[in-house]
Structure formats: C-alpha cells, structure tokens
Amino acid sequence: MSGSTQWPLWEVFVRSRRGLSHTHAGSLHAPDAEMALRNARDLYTRRSEGVSIWVVPSASVTASSPDEKDSFFEPAGDKPYRHPTFYEIPEGVRHL
C-alpha cells in the first residue's frame, strides 16, 4: 500500500554563518539531492539559521564503531605533547 513509496534519508549540514564550518543539523527525506537541498533549506533554515547547506545520503556515511572506541580514540589520550600547554615558557616571553 504505502510502504514502498518512502524517499531515501539525507543528512543535513548547515553553515550557520560565514567563517564557521558546516555542522550536522539533522536529517530528512527527499527523492533526490536537489529536492533534499530545498527541503533542508525550508526545514533547517527557516529562522535564518544558515548561509550554506550540504546534504549527504545517509547511506553514504561511514561511521566509526563505538565498539572500537578504545582502539580508535584512546591512543590519542596519552600524547599531551601535541597540545601547546605541554610546554613551559619562561615568564615574560610573549607572542608564543
């Protein structure tokens, strides 16, 4: 009856103003990319929330698995030398 007519799902990314990157706003259904863009404009920027929109078919998103959380993200946790606060600078030295 109605089950076969559902349009695919799209993820919507909105740049809220110039100088910022696009951030994920949510998703919606649309038959194709052109309509997805327009639907996103109507749905996610109707209160002037954006200046630019990306839409991506949800099926095209590859995500890291939460089960691999430890191996993926923990190894970065013990490398404080990547952060500027790791380094001590003599008092009075500026512009560093």
């Binding site: 349009w7 919606l28 259904h29 649309a30 038959p31 052109e34 309509m35 327009r38 639907n39 109507d42 749905l43 109707r46």
Partner: protein, 257 residues
C-alpha cells in the same frame, strides 16, 4: 444583488495615485488569495517536507500582500471588508487546489509571471521597486519549487504525467489575464506587457518541454467580454472562499484581534 460594489476608494492610503493604488491592490489580492489557497494544504500535503515547503511559500506571499495593502490603506479592512466584486486578483490564483498537480501547475504559471513582473519592477524607480526587490528573491524560490515539481510530476510515472497534463491544460485558460491591464490605466510603472507575455510563454514552454509535457493549446482567456478578475469578476468558488476567510472578522465589527 443588483448593485455593483465598487472599490473602497483605494487611492487615499499613502498618497499613491489612483492607478498605482489599483495596481497595488491587484498585486496584493493576487498574493493574499494564493497564500490562502496554499494555506488550505496545511496538514494535507503529500509528504511532511512538502507541508513545510508550501507553508513557506504561503507565508512569503502573505508577507507581500500585507506590505502592498499597507501602501493603499488598512490591511485588514482591505482583506476582510471588501465584497467579492471589489477583489482584483487574477482568477488563476483563486482556483481551488485540486490535486497536487493542479496546485503545482498553478504555482508554475503564477510564480513565473510574478518572477518576471517583480524582476522588472525591481529595476525601475516606481513605488513598487523596493518591495519588488525583496519579493523577487522569494518568488525566484517559488518558481524553482514549481519547476522542480513540474519536472518530477511530468517526467515521473504515467499517472503523474497524466495528472500534470490535465492540470496544465485546465488552468491554461486563466493565464492570459496576467498580461492584461490592471484597472483602467496602467499603474505598473509601464512594464511592457507584450514583452512580459512573451518571456512568460518561453519560460513556461521550456519547463513543460523538459518535463515531457505538451504545451497546452487553446484560448488563454474566457469569452466573456465583461472581463475577469482584474475587473472584479471571479469564478464561483471564490465567493465561498471569501465567505470562509471573512466571516469571523465580519461577525465582530470593530473588534481587534
């Protein structure tokens, strides 16, 4: 009713000339009536996303109508207290929604006209220039929306193709009116109607062809020499639409809301 209600003297509002006021009223009525019709879709659209899209268009049009009415007088008096014969909108915009194809065909015809007209008004320095400059951005989007859907319905399934053909043909006879003078004079800053009509036809023809639809043939206006919407002559469903729109306001004379 044997007397003909005339205009509620639209020339007094903001010092506009009578011709300009008549034109403002005609454009305002177009926008209000189409907005009202689109508002009837709320909760009935083929998909939720489309509910949101149609409401956006309806809100843009309502905003345009309100600015235009204010040029002429009090917006609510003009919208709620005029009789059917005093409304100057095109018959096209008052046509009932029908199925989604009818609504889209109506949108295509009207938004193409509005985009071309406002584009021209925006480049002039007449009383409509500022309004048109803002409105043309909105109307561009309406035209795009109508075009996208015309393509999808025309070149979609056999059923949608047939429905869209039928809708385009049914509304064709209301399209000539868009290029006739508004009222007695011409308050539209001397926009060249002939040229407007040609641009409209080539734009609509291009979209219909891309959508694999045939460009309708046949007359583009009625045979009644008395005129049509611009002369305050409407189709029968319009009176009922106005009755619904106005009854609450009229039931409480002088009340504010």
């Amino acid at each position: 009713m044997n007397s003909t209600p005339t205009d509620t003297d639209p020339g007094t509002g903001a010092g506009l000339g009578a011709e300009t006021a008549t034109a403002a009223l005609a454009l305002a009525d177009d926008a209000l009536i189409l907005s009202h019709r689109l508002g009837e879709w709320a909760g009935h659209a083929p998909e939720l996303e489309e509910d949101v899209a149609l409401a956006n268009i309806a809100l843009d049009l309502l905003g345009q109508a309100r600015i235009l009415y204010t040029l002429v007088g009090d917006e609510d008096e003009l919208a709620y207290l005029r009789e059917e014969r005093a409304f100057r909108n095109l018959q096209l915009v008052e046509q009932p929604n029908g199925d989604f194809a009818h609504t889209i065909a109506r949108q295509l015809y009207f938004s193409t006209y509005q985009r071309l007209l406002y584009g021209r008004l925006a480049t002039g320095d007449g009383p409509f220039a500022a309004l048109a400059a803002k409105a043309v951005k909105e109307v561009d989007y309406h035209q795009d929306h109508a075009e996208q859907w015309t393509l999808r319905l025309g070149d979609g399934t056999a059923e949608s193709h047939e429905r869209m053909e039928r809708a385009c043909t049914a509304l064709w006879r209301f399209t000539g009116e868009m290029f006739q003078p508004v009222g007695d004079g011409d308050g539209l800053d001397g926009v060249d109607r002939q040229e407007l009509a040609e641009s409209w036809l080539s734009s609509v023809t291009a979209v219909l062809r891309r959508a694999t639809l045939t460009v309708p043939e046949g007359p583009r206006s009625g045979a009644w020499t008395a005129g049509a919407g611009r002369q305050g002559l409407h189709t029968e469903s319009f009176g009922r639409m106005l009755a619904e729109m106005q009854h609450l306001h009229r039931s409480h004379p002088g009340a504010s809301w």
